[in-house]
């Protein structure tokens, strides 16, 4: 039976786990300190937000791929992971397409 699982654990040894862990810690510290720096004026408006999100996405990808073993999973699981975020993106995009294209009919109360 054990041949079923070979693929999963032969790829991840303890050093690799620790490596990913350190990358995550680094990301956390990086995001903390860059958030206190005003990149918006240094670079462009929204730079802070963008950077924070990029770091968060990277961290998430690491966790999904290695801690959750998706790297070694079949296409179905990969598809599921991608699709659910895609669906979320649909929700964001289609809600915001309304708000981003509205006139401002709100009154000054």
């Amino acid at each position: 039976m054990s041949d079923n699982h070979e693929e999963t654990h032969e790829h991840m040894g303890i050093p690799k786990y620790i490596g990913i862990f350190l990358a995550l810690v680094f990301g956390t510290i990086l995001t903390y300190f860059t958030a206190l720096t005003d990149l918006d004026t240094m670079l462009f408006a929204g730079a802070n937000t963008l950077l924070a999100l990029i770091i968060a996405f990277t961290k998430m990808t690491l966790v999904i791929l290695f801690f959750m073993h998706v790297w070694w999973n079949g296409t179905l699981i990969k598809l599921t992971a991608v699709a659910s975020f895609f669906w979320l993106a649909i929700m964001f995009a289609f809600v915001m397409q309304d708000y981003l294209t509205r006139g401002f009919g709100v009154f000054n109360k």
Binding site: S84, W87, F94, T101
Partner: protein
């Protein structure tokens, strides 16, 4: 038999030789706990059958009340406050506790494993859990109704629901929240089952279209339902704590609620219709004894509906104040998503070409479905055209549209399916005569009820009105009259189907020599479905020699 036996492999095998005392899933254990704690998908389907039907009757009583009140223009039978509660509860019960579970949880639960040659769903405990979620949700909602009811409309639009209504919005919301998880778990279970439980030889393109339709439905259930759950949760929070997310008087945005609500609730209408379409594919193919025309197209159109169905929710909000640009996008996609439905309609029709069409009750329902869903779908196009929607939205035209697709579509499909597989489910046959009568009554009554509402809608009668303008009375009387016929038509099956349970003839395992796997086991099936794991060597809807059934013998017997 011992109640605990139903988990053990082999029980059915042992008994199959002795036909008289054959153990099948129905008599495998008689204690209450053998039902309430069962992990057998077929028994769970029966549990659903009983409870969902009860909710349907309750919803139907509300419908009858609505129609009675609308017999006259004034609000004389009910006060407007009561009327508001009645249509709200009619909507909530019919949508969340009847139409969403009806086909997947009853027919899907029963047939999906049988059709793919599995012993059970992949996650039987989860399946049972989902029924308990359904019961809890249903119980909470019923409790809300007993306490005094809800009067927000099934759409729960804010800020009315959060700030102004003094109905039991929280309780009903909680019920819907819990019930949502029932739907999620069912969907999750189906997806897993279709992926991992197919028997040898059952490739994706040999799956019956019923299975494809349920697969597509399940995707929507898993990806859509959680959004309504969180939305209802936020609405409830808004109500108790005034969090200011939906309530405009403290900075919130009522239109955001509509976006979140319809993000689920539009796909939800496809949760309601897709399984019904699966049933229709089965009926049409089997009662024409022909391979479905354009199998791949019918299969993929289900997936296309499921996916594109997520992109059109804004067509419920054309006049709500969303931006014109967003309206254009949603209207465009609404048109796009109706094309896969069109594909299905044409393929079904083409399937009958050169077939061997019999007019048994299920087929009558299927033909009824085709006509009524067609009209319902086409009037959906009226609503999807923005300019027309402005005039039609929130009028009876909408009411007519969605009853045509939901009652004329899904309910008819469900009844057709129930009749088609009744002998498989119960091992008994029902009366063809009464079946045909009731199918006819439903069709006639339905049209009489809801066709006048299209005209009423175009004349400008707004929906959710306890009292209406006098010049509209004539058509409303027609509608109420039709509803009575419809009501009789729908109560009839209840009677003759129940009757057949006790006095019906014993059914054969495969009376019509149909090729589906569910017909290759006994009626009713044994607890583990098949005595031996089936191996599929034929294509879907194969009526010829290759399907391995002894048709010659059946023919000989039939002519004797």
């Amino acid at each position: 038999m011992d109640a605990t036996v139903n988990n053990k492999i082999g029980t059915a095998v042992v008994d199959r030789t002795v036909e008289k005392t054959r153990t099948h899933y129905l008599n495998n254990g008689h204690s209450l706990s053998s039902w309430l704690l069962t992990k057998d998908h077929k028994r769970i389907a029966i549990l659903y059958l009983i409870t969902v039907s009860a909710f349907f009757l309750l919803g139907g009583v509300y419908a009858a009340t609505i129609r009675l009140e609308l017999l006259t223009p004034a609000s004389d039978l009910l006060e407007s406050g009561t009327y508001n509660k009645v249509f709200t509860q009619h909507g909530i019960i019919m949508v969340f506790f009847f139409l969403i579970p009806v086909v997947p949880a009853i027919l899907g639960n029963f047939l999906l494993p049988l059709m793919i040659g599995a012993k059970d769903l992949a996650l039987p405990k989860i399946n049972l859990l989902s029924w308990y979620f359904y019961m809890t949700g249903g119980g909470l909602t019923l409790f809300a109704l007993i306490q005094g009811g809800v009067d927000t409309g099934w759409t729960f639009y804010t800020p009315y629901s959060t700030t102004f209504s003094n109905g039991y919005v929280m309780l009903a919301g909680l019920g819907i929240f819990v019930n949502g998880f029932s739907s999620i778990l069912t969907g999750l279970n189906f997806i897993v089952t279709v992926h991992t439980m197919r028997c040898p030889g059952m490739t994706w393109f040999r799956l019956p279209l019923f299975v494809w339709a349920h697969y597509a439905t399940s995707l929507v259930m898993v990806l859509g339902t959680p959004v309504i759950a969180i939305t209802i949760l936020l609405m409830a929070l808004e109500r108790v704590a005034h969090i200011g997310i939906f309530d405009p008087s403290i900075g919130g945005d009522p239109i955001l609620f509509q976006h979140l609500f319809w993000f689920y609730s539009h796909p939800a209408v496809y949760i309601m219709i897709l399984p019904g379409m699966g049933v229709i594919s089965e009926i049409i193919a089997n009662y024409s004894r022909k391979k479905i025309f354009g199998y791949e197209f019918v299969a993929f159109s289900s997936l296309a509906i499921a996916v594109f169905g997520f992109l059109v929710w804004g067509h419920h909000m054309f006049v709500s104040g969303q931006s014109m640009y967003a309206g254009l996008v949603f209207s465009f996609l609404t048109m796009v998503v109706s094309v896969p439905s069109a594909i299905k309609m044409f393929n079904w029709t083409a399937t009958m070409y050169k077939g061997s069409v019999s007019y048994d009750t299920p087929m009558l329902y299927a033909i009824g479905f085709m006509g009524l869903f067609l009209i319902g779908g086409l009037t959906g196009l009226f609503l999807g055209a923005m300019g027309l929607n402005v005039h039609l939205t929130d009028t009876y035209f909408i009411v007519a549209h969605f009853h045509y697709v939901m009652v004329g579509g899904t309910v008819l499909a469900y009844l057709g399916g129930l009749h088609m597989w009744w002998s498989k489910i119960t091992g008994k046959t029902y009366s063809e005569f009464w079946g045909k009568i009731s199918a006819l009554l439903v069709f006639v009554g339905f049209n009489l009820t809801f066709f006048p509402q299209f005209i009423l809608g175009y004349m400008g009668m707004p929906r959710r009105y306890a009292s209406y303008s006098e010049e509209l009375q004539v058509l409303n009387v027609f509608s109420t009259a039709g509803a009575s016929v419809l009501g009789i038509g729908l109560v009839l099956p209840l009677i003759y189907l129940t009757y057949s349970l006790f006095f019906g003839e014993k059914a054969k395992s495969n009376p019509s020599m149909l090729p589906g796997l569910e017909w290759r086991t006994q009626s009713p099936p044994p607890t583990l479905n098949f005595d031996e794991t089936p191996v599929v060597t034929w294509e879907a809807y194969e009526f010829g020699e290759e399907n391995g059934l002894d048709i010659e013998k059946a023919r000989r017997e039939a002519t004797v």
